[in-house]
Symmetry: C2
Subunit: 359 residues, 2 copies
Amino acid sequence: MGDTVIGFGILGCASIARKVSRAITLAPNATISGVASRSIEKASGFAKANSLPPDAKIYGSYESLLGDPDIDAVYVPLPTSLHLRWAVLAARKKKHVLLEKPVAVNAAELDTIIEACEVNGVQLMDGTMWMHHPRTEIMRHFLSDTERFGQLKTVHTCFSFAADPDFLKGDIRVKPDLDALGALGDAGWYGVGAILFAADYELPKTVTALHGPVFNEAGVILECGASLLWEDGKVATFNCSFLTNLTMDITAIGTKGTLHLNDFVVPFQEHEASFTTNSKSGITEFMTGWVSLPSEHIITAELPQEACMVREFARLVGSIKNGSKTEKKWPTRSRKTQLILDAVMTSIKRGYEPVEIVS
Amino acid sequence: MGDTVIGFGILGCASIARKVSRAITLAPNATISGVASRSIEKASGFAKANSLPPDAKIYGSYESLLGDPDIDAVYVPLPTSLHLRWAVLAARKKKHVLLEKPVAVNAAELDTIIEACEVNGVQLMDGTMWMHHPRTEIMRHFLSDTERFGQLKTVHTCFSFAADPDFLKGDIRVKPDLDALGALGDAGWYGVGAILFAADYELPKTVTALHGPVFNEAGVILECGASLLWEDGKVATFNCSFLTNLTMDITAIGTKGTLHLNDFVVPFQEHEASFTTNSKSGITEFMTGWVSLPSEHIITAELPQEACMVREFARLVGSIKNGSKTEKKWPTRSRKTQLILDAVMTSIKRGYEPVEIVS
């Protein structure tokens, strides 16, 4: 009885790895079996600072961790430009791959990673935590409700944060050789993912970058936006930025309902999250108010969303160990997100022309 | 002591006139002195149905009302295509003009109206009610606060409502000869106005329509959007629609703060309205929540916003009667809004090319 406990290796000691280490510890079906850095001192320091289990092994190279037979899965928080090399090698070593976003520099590299995972029968999932919050599924029910929400017509999302001067100078996310997609790959990953979530993962027909992206001196995007258009006429816009106050909005508007939330990436509070909806909204006769006020839906969460992510990933890995196939849903979603990011980049390069999405 | 009471004439019995009649009655410095329709029966029916004062005069033509020396000001809810003719004639008859939005078919016609009002020394104001809600000024304080909000960088607005089949078939707002701007002139007027409000009425450099506008069979816009770009790099997007659930959003993001509200056109409730702000928002160390929750600012309103509008207009008219000059702020704002609507139309016609705004 009980779930199989999956042993995780952590490939690199980026600051996001601290959060995911905590999540692995919190997830009931996962444990940290090892950590690797390019220096054994750094790995050892990480293990101590983050209270890793005493039996977790410390590795001074990524290769050595990947050779450890006790490790079932790896969490990869390395800079995006290193994902291709290490995710593919992990797959070849039969390690399941929980890959930090943005998953790749472009869809072609991601396809190589996906193929390596498929060939080797390992699960691939990207590290988008909010997808695993229980709130997300409840919002999905609302968006799928033909009576309360109707047909989706318009989505707007925004994820921005005001990066400090150190970040803007030295973070991997502003370095062209490490995270070439900049704010688009980092913050934009969430905004695009939220649009796809609202559209139930139907790809748009065209993506058009908005005028006015901001670049740093090295040519990396610090802020940009785009508009998306679907075959059926649905439209979406998003904005992503390293230069403005922390904002995490989804507004999804259907023929009969509206959904709002302002904390989709990280809920305001760890154990409780909410969103608001309106359905068949109307105005009083003299337009002095709304016929009904928005409804707030409050969801309690026993585990933080990152632990829910680890639990779901470990559950899939456990199933695969017991003979199930890999779950294609997650790499498919990552790939659709990546296709749109690529199209935004292409549209900017082509002077804000619409770019067709070819799946 | 006491304000001068301004006598209003109502030029046409559109359904919006019912709301504004109530507002004139509620405003302490205004009264309804007359109502005109193209038929005296219709005007008389309107007076009865809306409990107009017993001494209000009933006119069977707009011209006759404009000839009444007891009438200081007119409220003009006629279809947009008739604004040029009747607003100009009203100004020539020395009537102050409260003009329903969209104020004109295009900026050239509006300029003729503005000139007629200036030459004749009468006040022009458009009927955008939310500009007069006390909440609006308090939001302006937040947006101007360099500590709490910083510099404006991004704005998104949306105003949409799900028009019923009768509206989509027969309302003046979907008829090319009456309200040629359709949803852009009606709902879009608000979204554009809210963007200008957030930008403190600085005009953008370019306006680019988004791909995917929806037209009816007569070629009138039922849904569209655009992106705006300022000289200093500020960006804005808006969406307006007759086809989606009632939604009235402003999201304004600065370098240090964010403002949200979801009922900017008509507050959820008549006597109380709110908006939320975040300032210098941050995430906890393990990204498990926000450092501080959004603040809700609640504003009580003694009068509904449309009565505040009438009160302000009547106050200006009273000042002019006492020798003051007309207030240029209001026609200037109307004109800036109209310039942007015109640019959206031009951009759509030019295949979504950016259109420069020339003031």
